[in-house]
């Protein structure tokens, strides 16, 4: 069972995304911000995919993505941004940090599940 880490400062979004994924057979971990997300990745090597918000307190999602690649040296975990942001400059920064996909809120549960299936298969 692939493990997915959902990083969002909104409990509403964490709960909604987690429910979609759990109902479709995925194991889910959650974190409230980028800093907590990095800590979870450090301690849990089973995580195969990260779904993260961009704007979060303490550490934003793009900085977390950059640190996953640079500080943790983890080049294999897939990262999807789930955000209200659609600024091309942010997307470029995400691409440079190895982000694989970008979903703009409000999101559809099917899109999340489909994206996760595609990236972990």
């Amino acid at each position: 069972m692939a493990q997915v880490l959902v990083v969002d400062d909104s409990a509403t979004v964490r709960n909604e995304v987690s429910t979609f994924l759990k109902n479709n057979g995925f194991a889910v971990e959650t974190a409230d911000d980028g800093k907590q997300g990095l800590d979870k990745l450090r301690s849990d090597s089973a995580i195969k995919l990260v779904i993260s918000d961009v704007n979060m307190p303490n550490m934003d999602g793009l900085t977390m993505a950059e640190k996953i690649r640079s500080e943790l040296g983890n080049q294999t975990v897939n990262i999807i941004m789930l955000t209200t942001e659609s600024d091309p400059r942010m997307k470029e920064r995400g691409k440079a940090a190895g982000v694989k996909g970008w979903i703009v809120k409000p999101f559809k549960g099917d899109a999340i599940v489909g994206a996760v299936r595609k990236l972990v298969s």
Binding site: S10, A11, T12, E85
Partner: protein, 324 residues
Amino acid sequence: MTDSHDIKTKALIFEHDGEADNILKELCQSHSITGLKASNPSTFDLLNSNTDLGAVFVSDKFIVEDQHGESLVKTIHKLRPELPIFYRVEDTSSVKALTPGQNVSCVYQLDKFDCIEQTISKHIFSTHYPTPLVQGMKEISLDAIQSNIRNCVIEIDSPYLVKDQIIYGELMSLIPIESSWYRGYMMLQTTEAEVISMIENGMTPLNPKDTDFRFVNSLLNEIANMIWGGIKRKFADKDNMQADDSSLRTQVPISVNHFHKYISFGTTEPQLCFHYRIKNEFDETQCVELYQKFVFNLAWLPENFQETNDTVEEMVDSGELELF
């Protein structure tokens, strides 16, 4: 003066004279004002309990708790200094202490009310809001609400302007909104018990047991976040927005007085408001009232308004995965 006839405002009317009443009624209708007649003259609670007001009309013979005339006007002004007061007198020569610009915005007589129209333009409908912007704000907000509240129908009043700075309800989410042509805040206000009830009834993405106030806050914040995200995508002029623009660093303090349920953004300009009534779609019972206010206190340059989704490359499909 706004060019959108859909935008309204509310005025509290203290008037004793039937003829004046009829004239005010016509005047209100022709100027997008909803008149709220003060039928119980025994208390000032009417002023304190009526949020979302744009103005007060008062006649010199109307009596509230033994006060009338200039004394009454001064008390109203003291209670709600942000509201423009339209003061009707039968004889202007009797008006000594009150001059426009002090306690009242306009002193008028039934046969001479030019100053009413000027004052409405100057103090209430003083800001131009492009109609596509107002419409877009409403549609984006409805999408965001429906993404976070399931199985609901939403009724929405015409957008309206308020001069008062009263906080509605118990719960407020505040988010800065800014582009190269507007800077300010958006507020969402509601009451906690109503939101908890929706969570318990499974109408939100939250677990029905997650009724702690922090989850309630989270729900309101997520709606605010999605609305701002949508507005930014549709209306922010991104190319012209410079992160190091010194104007973007300008801030003013915001004061909140919980005792008086009052919030000030440092501006006396009217706030653009929307009022949503969210109902359960199955039985149409009302679940939540949501008040949304836009305050452009730091910059407002509607002449630079443009929708950014008119070019194909900038269109964004919410909810769709874009693979890199």
